[in-house]
């Protein structure tokens, strides 16, 4: 009935030498013991409140006992949690384990560090009701709010130290040194993880950004063979990019080369066990993050990045690992990039790759492995691209042929054409050339190698301008009979603009088919569920 069971009273009485306590007495004492304990705990809670705490300590209980004129219980003053041990042979009988300590050990032990003395610091919690974003203050949850106060702080800083060279506070210097040390030496520790969290969330780091970017750039340049360091640096870079309080745009030009190096460098790490593929993936994602976040601010950012990557991809003299990095980077930039830049080059590239992948031809295990990696990356990129297309055009496969959609495809296509024309090194390869030049005609229809391809289209003649009553493509076999010729004749009648739009859709169809040819069954995993069922 009471929380204190009778048995406890019996045990206590035994411990103080009363062996013949009758059970009625124990039964009567038990509730009283509970009452007294509760009383004392209530007093202890009062003492706790007056010590401005919210956790009860042994000291509070002691002072509560003193209030009642009871001798305090000595020996529990240390802040360590008490370790209870179960008494052997008893189910629910515990005691506090007191370790025997050699007196000699205690005397000979080195003196512990003196605890730091209490001190007092001051900072602004609010200036006219607005919290400044300084490290001493808690993070402001609302991002817009944080931005505002950050600007405010910037303004303030300018006001105060106008002509002075950039001055870093001692705390920030210490912080920077610490982060550097952890990154270089102990990147697998828990501390490093916490450092990353701090980098990605602390609000007062802005003054350190140039130092960090410089640090990353230097270290990457000097330590291409140190895999773990490279990875750690990339993590630091990512954390910085994630920090909402940092204004990192002005330093991107310093940061990007390092990231791209980690993506497409010939060798990353010097050991066989270093998983540089992973690092490349990470860097690719980082790149995508940057492009997504700052693409609109830095208008030529994405184009510069893609150009660099494309060069790496299309240069057959480069190592396969570099190709891999370039593919991953392009894939991370989004399906449209893949469609425009990778897919047109897919076929010749695969032809190039094929000999390396086959066991008979390529005796070098390492080389073969790399080739397979690259193949996998290509497949992934192409697959995702296709998935995206299918998603964007959900009716592509399922809708009846005569359904008309409104699509605005012109711009993309023309751009695609321009881009192709501008890339001179594409021209070396005959199939590409064909693709690049056949924009106007019906030729792609005939050149399509897959017989499944049966495009049919419904035009609405009423539409005009750029809003094209687009074509719907279907590869359902029954519709195959509506042959390409009929479409072709129509196309010849309509304007060239329409033809271009049409062509783009054909591209989509082409894409699918080509991918099937190249990758076979494994492509199915990238098609959306409903569509793939229709497909089959």
């Amino acid at each position: 009935m009471s929380i204190v069971p009778k048995e406890t009273i019996e045990v206590i009485s035994q411990s103080i030498g009363i062996t013949n306590l009758s059970s009625e007495v124990a039964g009567a004492l038990a509730p009283d013991v509970e009452y007294r304990v509760r009383e004392i705990m209530q007093e202890a809670i009062k003492c706790m409140r007056h010590s401005r705490r919210t956790t009860l300590t042994a000291d509070d209980v002691d002072s509560a006992l003193k209030l009642r004129n009871v001798e305090p219980i000595y020996g529990f003053a240390s802040g360590d949690p008490l370790r209870f041990k179960r008494a052997a042979g008893h189910k629910d009988f515990f005691y506090i384990a007191d370790k025997d300590v050699e007196f000699k050990d205690v005397i000979e032990a080195p003196l512990p560090k003196a605890p730091l003395d209490t001190s007092l610091t001051a900072h602004w919690l609010a200036i006219e009701g607005v919290q400044p974003a300084i490290p001493e203050n808690a993070l402001v949850e609302v991002p817009t709010d944080g931005k505002k106060s950050e600007y405010k702080e910037d303004g303030l800083a300018i006001d105060i130290k106008l002509p002075i060279k950039h001055v870093l506070s001692k705390e920030l210097q210490l912080y920077f040194d610490k982060i550097m040390e952890v990154t270089v030496k102990r990147s697998d520790s828990v501390l490093f993880k916490q450092a990353l969290v701090s980098l990605s969330s602390d609000s007062g780091l802005h003054p350190l950004v140039p130092y960090f970017t410089c640090f990353i750039a230097d270290e990457v340049a000097q330590n291409l063979s140190n895999f773990s360091l490279l990875f750690a640096l990339m993590r630091v870079a990512r954390s910085l990019l994630q920090n909402p309080h940092i204004h990192i745009e002005p330093y991107l030009h310093q940061l990007m080369p390092s990231v791209i190096t980690c993506l497409v460098a010939k060798r990353l790490g010097n050991r066989f066990s270093d998983n540089h593929w992973e690092l490349r993936n990470f860097a690719a994602n980082l790149l995508a993050l940057v492009c997504k976040r700052f693409g609109h601010v830095y208008h030529n950012l994405q184009s510069r990045v893609t150009r660099t990557l494309l060069h790496a991809f299309l240069d057959p003299t480069k190592a396969l690992s570099q190709h891999y990095g370039a593919i991953q980077g392009l894939a991370a930039l989004g399906p449209s990039v893949v469609r425009l830049l990778i897919l047109p080059n897919l076929e010749p590239y695969l032809q190039l790759l094929e000999p390396d992948m086959l066991l008979e031809n390529q005796k070098n295990e390492m080389r073969r492995h790399e080739a397979q990696r690259v193949h996998g990356a290509l497949m992934h990129a192409a697959g995702l691209c296709m998935y995206d297309r299918l998603k964007a055009v959900p009716g592509l496969l399922s809708l009846p042929t005569r359904v008309v959609w409104k699509r605005n495809g012109k711009v993309v296509t023309t751009m695609q054409n321009k881009r192709k024309a501008s890339m001179d090194n594409l021209m070396q390869q005959p199939p590409l050339k064909k693709l690049a030049t056949d924009g106007m005609g019906v030729t792609p229809m005939n050149s399509m190698p897959v017989e499944m391809q049966g495009p049919t289209a419904g035009y609405t003649s009423a539409v005009g301008g750029s809003s094209v009553g687009g074509t719907s493509l279907s590869r359902q076999l029954p519709n195959e009979k509506m042959s390409g010729r009929e479409v072709g004749s129509r196309v010849s009648k309509t304007s060239t603009i329409l033809a271009q739009a049409w062509k783009e859709d054909i591209d989509a169809g082409h894409l699918l088919a080509a991918l099937f040819e190249h990758f076979g069954e494994s492509m199915f995993s990238f098609t959306p569920k409903s569509e793939s069922s229709l497909f089959l």
């Binding site: 009471s2 009283d32 401005r52 919210t54 209490t118 007092l120 610091t121 919690l125």
Partner: protein, 671 residues
């Protein structure tokens, strides 16, 4: 009722109680009666008696009937009409605790426990603290011993209820013949039946608060007249005067000062005579407030009525007064749009030892009381200079004269005051910053000089730890509160207390002076706040409404309102003249350690254990009732939360608005 049944009851009763003789004589009597065949008692005509007999017959089933009766009443009231439901639900709690205590008192401990645990959830939200205390009551002896339970048993609960709900309840009780419950309701609940519609749910803050003393007594006390106005001839007044003659302010200042000196002397002589007698003769000064409010003034403070001091007040040195006037001139006006700047003082490396902290009126000195019996004082001006920051410079120039660090200042950043022999629970600066008071678990209060860095006086009087100590707004006098359930008024020059305020039913946890020095407010673990007349030592107001221990108090600068914060994080605004709660301020999730009004009374700042400082707009509510004083029904205007300022991980122990309306906060960094 059949007569035979009655006879059987009586027989059974006598047998059970072992009254053999009585039983025999009863039978003889009965036979005699039968022979005369005339019933001497008319059972049918006396429902009370039949009820008694009924209840006796029910008593056979023992403790179970409490359980049954209560659970029936509970399900009935939960299923009643929504309109009347909340009123009926209010009845449940007193019935619940009295059922429980009845069971305990009769020795059915086991059943009592079961009963308690079955239904406790219903009341946990509203009465958690009480339930926790009652839970431990396990024997009849405990009920007698425990004051809380004892007072519950011997007092009635007031419940406001509308006529219809009351009828419903009685009807139900009669219909189901649950006499046990009826008995409890009759014995322990005092219904205040009001005609008309049931009152709204929000209106019942004090409807079911169980306190030791009877509600009537509290109401009676709250009828007393108080003068909440400000002191005549305060510095603010002088500032205004000076402002009107701004051109030759120096001269006027000097004159007023001299005039003051004389006046103060006069006052000191009259001090004894003024008091209770003169108070009676005065009309309620609140009436004057409206008259004075006609004057077009910016400051809300100046609108308050003026009262004469009841204590002989200290004379302020001229240069101090000068600096205060300077501060008042430079004060920033705060309101809901113009919010204050807050400087947060963070204690680090305290090793869980800091119990309290206090900030001087100009923010330049910060004191911390530690559980190792020490009191440490930091001079922020000095600290600021070391760090090269000029943060506090603006505030400092006012008090630069009194800042000289001690001999040990070279090594330590603070001045250490040692003298107490127990944890220091509170510290307070005098208005000028010359003195610090500290109170401790060793039952003493010590006065320290910040100029001499020495202990001047040790005040002994309390018998238990002294929880709180506060200087009066003009210095010299101070008030203390203690675990011994009393609050005491002291003056610096005497080692004996001048007044002892007794009346709280539990520890007095915090104390605060009224702006005009004639009253002190105390907050207690008995969940009430009381206002005491300093001159007479009488309790003049009881504020009932908190649901847990009251931890902090603040009185508005115009003396009309008071805010109190409790353990649950609730802050309540009280109107001193009516004794009613203006509105509760909800928002904090943990103990409210500290409260402070801005100097013109438009903002309230609260610091809490949940590591936030919150700013509340109190102008919206306090201004409106003043203009339409008679119409105000209390809580039309809800005060609103203006801003929540989270600290990184620093529970805020102390808050202080400087005279220039800069807000200082102090707390300890805790991980």
């Amino acid at each position: 009722m059949n007569e035979d049944v009655v006879v059987k009851f009586v027989e059974a009763y006598l047998k059970k109680k072992g009254f053999k003789q009585a039983e025999l004589s009863f039978r003889e009597n009965l036979q005699n009666n039968n022979s005369t065949s005339s019933s001497s008692i008319d059972f049918h005509a006396d429902p009370e008696l039949s009820k008694f007999i009924l209840s006796y017959s029910e008593a056979e089933s023992g403790p179970a009937r409490y359980h049954d009766g209560y659970s029936k009443l509970r399900s009935w009231s939960y299923s009643s009409l929504d309109l009347y439901k909340h009123e009926l639900l209010r009845v449940l709690y007193p019935v619940f605790i009295h059922c429980f205590m009845d069971l305990v008192a009769r020795g059915h401990i086991q059943e009592a426990r079961k009963f308690f645990n079955t239904f406790r959830e219903d009341h946990e939200m509203m009465h958690l603290r009480d339930l926790q205390r009652l839970e431990g009551v396990l024997s009849p002896a405990h009920i007698e011993e425990m004051e809380f339970a004892h007072s519950l048993r011997h007092s009635k609960v007031n419940i406001k209820i509308c006529q219809y709900s009351y009828d419903l309840l009685l009807q139900y009780l009669h219909k189901t013949q649950s006499t046990t419950i009826l008995g409890i309701i009759n014995e322990h609940i005092n219904f205040q039946v009001s005609p008309g519609q049931p009152n709204s749910i929000f209106d019942d803050a004090e409807a079911v608060i169980l306190i030791g003393s009877s509600q009537d007594a509290a109401n009676q006390i709250n009828q007393k007249e108080i003068h909440w106005g400000l002191l005549e001839d305060s510095l603010e007044d002088r500032l205004e005067k000076a402002g009107s003659f701004l051109s030759d302010s120096e001269k006027t200042e000097g004159e007023t000062k001299e005039g003051d000196m004389d006046e103060n002397k006069k006052r000191a002589v009259e001090g004894g005579k003024q008091g209770a007698s003169s108070k009676k003769s005065k009309k309620d000064k609140a009436a004057n407030a409206t008259a004075k409010a006609v004057r077009p003034e910016a400051s809300t403070v100046s609108m308050a009525p003026r009262v004469k001091p009841e204590l002989s007040l200290p004379v302020m040195p001229a240069e101090v007064e000068q600096s205060i006037l300077e501060d008042l001139r430079n004060r920033v006006q705060l309101n809901s749009v113009a919010m204050p700047s807050i400087s947060l003082y963070t204690f680090i490396n305290t090793h869980n030892g800091l119990n309290c902290s206090s900030i001087s009126h100009d923010g330049s000195l910060v004191a911390g009381g530690f559980s190792d019996s020490s009191l440490k004082v930091w001079d922020m001006a000095k600290l600021g200079q070391q760090a090269g920051g000029s943060v506090l410079q603006g505030e400092n120039d006012t008090a630069s004269s009194e800042k000289k660090l001690g001999l040990d200042g070279g090594r330590r950043s603070y001045t250490l005051f040692q003298g107490h022999s127990g944890p220091v629970y509170s510290a307070a600066f005098s208005p000028t910053g010359d003195f610090i008071l500290s109170s401790s678990a060793d039952t003493t209060i010590r006065l320290w000089s910040t100029k001499l860095n020495a202990n001047l006086v040790c005040y002994k009087g309390h018998n238990y730890p002294v929880w709180d100590v506060q200087f009066s707004p003009l210095g010299h006098y101070f008030a203390s509160s203690s675990h011994d359930r009393s609050a005491r008024i002291w003056s610096m020059e005497r080692i004996q207390p001048l007044r002892i305020m007794a009346g709280h039913l539990s520890d007095v946890d915090c104390v605060q002076w009224h702006a005009n020095c004639n009253y002190i407010a105390t907050g207690s673990s008995d969940k009430t706040v009381r206002l005491w007349d300093v001159q007479s030592g009488e309790c003049v107001r009881i504020f009932i409404g908190h649901r847990s221990m009251v931890l902090s108090l603040a009185v508005s600068p115009d003396g009309r309102y008071m805010a109190s914060g409790d353990e649950d994080g609730k802050i309540m605004m009280w109107d001193l003249s009516s004794g009613r709660c203006v509105t509760p301020l909800m928002g904090h999730t943990s103990c409210v350690w500290s409260l402070a009004f801005s100097c013109e009374g438009s903002l309230l700042a609260s610091g809490s254990a949940d590591s936030t400082v919150k700013l509340w707009d109190v102008n919206t509510s306090t201004k409106a009732p003043r203009t339409e004083e008679n119409k105000s029904s209390g809580n039309i205007n809800r005060l609103r939360l203006l801003k929540t300022l989270p600290t990184k991980s620093t529970p805020v122990y102390a808050l202080r608005f400087s005279r220039r309306n800069l807000l200082f906060a102090a707390g300890v960094l805790s991980k």
